[in-house]
Amino acid sequence: MSGNAAAILKVRDLHTQFNTLDGVVRAVDGVSFDVARGETLGIVGESGCGKSVTALSILRLIPPETGRIAQGSITFDGEELTALSEEAMKGLRGHRISMIFQEPMTSLNPVLTVGTQIAENVVRHLGVPWRAARERACEMLDLVRIADPRRRLDEYPHQLSGGMRQRVMIAMALSCDPQVLIADEPTTALDVTIQAQILQLMLELKEKTGTAIVLITHDLGVVAETTERVVVMYAGRKVEEAPVEALFAEPLHPYTRGLMRAIPRLDVEADAAGTRPRLQEIPGLVPRLTQPIVGCAFAARCGFATERCRTEPPPVVAAGAGHTVACWEVDRVRAGAP
């Protein structure tokens, strides 16, 4: 997908690092992908693989005391974000690129009304008076299907349920018609029925507004239902990228295959104790990110690994239309062993 002219956001060879007591953590270690206008891109991977750090890097919200973008380029609408001034960056955040977070219970300010929190975004970026901004906030609450929006404007977050708070976050994020919405596990903290409603809502709003969505999740089920294209991350690197149908039809990276075996099967009966058969977890541990990884990051856990995997980093190879994978042993994986 590189060099895609329609791409609104291009991430190239992104490296984001943190200084910690244990040394430098390479949270994101050379990730590249494009986001086309109006598309839904999924980013999946296990906990700690660098999904949130990638998102925060795009908005340049990495805490400067400990972290930094060490290398790489992020272009948004032709503009290089890594070189932009902090002031210009603030003008983009919440306006042309918005973000919603995993924790609806804590992501809204508890001492400000919902109306204030949405309207301030509109005042900040569209320069309209408060009154008009409050009207806009009211419209947005209506759009995310919150009943009785005018009354809700004057309520505080603690008066709303988790699902409603996430709707408010969505209303806030979309209030200035952004070109890109980054949703970092927006439904993980919600229960299953609410999850489905919120995802459905995001997709509908995307159709209406043409906002591209980057949906970060560790749930392949969510990816299958909502996204068009998928980036699979492992230990700070992109290991596979493909259109969603292609990925599910033929996952090519051993790690992606492992993830798919770990999807909970709702169709399998729960046993007498009420527990379903344990998910087939990928054996082994994620490598420590404080040491540079030689060879393939997945080698220690990979059933296909050879000597070469441990010493030389696998190249990214094309494996079909829009399908790329970073693995030395694609052919053997295709053949189905081990």
């Binding site: 955040r93 919440g94 804590t106 300010n109 508890p110 400000l112 301030e120 900040r124 505080y156």
Partner: protein, 313 residues
């Protein structure tokens, strides 16, 4: 909200009743017979008995208590043993300097300490933060009277910018009034300021790490709005609490400051009354100071409800 305020107001009544009870028994059980003190050193037993009868101290305790409470409710705190003036009059004469000193100290300390604490938290672990917090540790450790004498030495004696001591009532003009308050306010306020600055920094640091601050930054809001609205309002409850506790500290600090700067306020009155065992005056002062603290607590409690919508009322 009104119901909440009224309820809080009524809740102060038992506290004041306990204070009154304590004050009443203070006189009755204090060492030294007040009648003997009043009657003078070489008074006869009859003279002392006469004084005791005059003060009603020979009546049964319960009766004394009711009479005393009734008088108190009518605003009668009794008569000074030494000056024979009504205690209420003595106190009201000395009220202005103390109120002026406390309020100006409060104002200066809060107006400086909160911005200092906010900046320190914002620039945490940078040079400015270290400087400010170094000052705060120093300010907190510095005894009021030492600082007072240092200030007097430089600003009044060496550079002659401000009066050495004394107090000018506000009726003598705003500048002389303000001038007489600057050094005492600074001397009294530094400890207090250090305390508020430190709690502001700590509270802000905790709030700045919260998810909703990340949300505010992800909206591209201006730094001052993030700090002063999104963060400070959340950090306010502990800060306001410490300001309230600090007022109690201020009231004890006033005694020293008024003595050093020779300000004729309640602090000086307290020192004199205690030294002379002028029990009715001591009683009156305890009631006034306790009342002031109860009032401060009330204001703080009510302010919580304004600052944090989650507080039930």
């Amino acid at each position: 909200m009104t119901a909440y305020i009224v309820r809080r107001l009524f809740a102060t009544l038992p506290v004041m009743a306990v204070v009154a009870l304590f004050v009443f028994f203070l006189l009755r059980f204090a060492p030294g017979d007040p009648a003997a003190i009043i009657a003078g050193e070489d008074a006869t037993a009859e003279a002392i008995a006469a004084v005791r009868a005059k003060l009603g101290l020979d009546r049964p305790m319960v009766e004394q208590f009711f009479v005393w409470t009734l008088q108190l409710l009518q605003g009668d705190m009794g008569v000074s043993i030494f000056s024979n003036l009504a205690v209420t009059r003595l106190i009201s004469q000395r009220l202005e300097p103390t109120v002026a000193l406390t309020l100006s100290t409060l104002f200066v300390a809060v107006a400086l300490a909160i911005p200092i604490g906010v900046v320190a938290a914002w620039k945490a672990r940078k040079l400015i933060d270290r400087l400010v917090m170094g000052f705060a540790v120093l300010g907190f450790a510095m005894p009021v009277f030492v600082l007072a004498y240092v200030l007097i030495y430089f600003f009044a004696v060496q550079w002659q910018l401000l009066p050495v001591q004394g107090y000018k009532p506000i009726s003598e003009g705003l500048w002389p009034f303000a001038e007489s308050l600057i050094l005492p306010s600074v001397a009294l306020g530094v400890t207090y300021m250090a305390l508020i600055a430190r709690i502001t920094r700590a509270s802000m640091l905790e709030v700045l790490a919260q998810d909703y601050i990340r949300t505010a930054n992800a909206k591209g809001l201006a730094t001052d709005r993030v700090l002063l609205l999104h963060a400070l309002k959340n950090a306010a409850v502990p800060i306001v609490t410490v300001i309230g506790i600090g007022i109690a500290l201020l009231i004890s600090g006033v005694v020293i400051t008024e003595t050093v700067f020779n300000i004729p306020g309640l602090g000086r009155l307290t020192v004199d009354a205690v030294l002379k065992r002028d029990y009715p005056v001591v009683q009156g002062l305890i009631l006034v100071f306790a009342g002031a603290k109860v009032l401060v607590n009330l204001v703080i409690d009510i302010s919580y409800a304004f600052l944090d919508p989650r507080i039930r009322y």
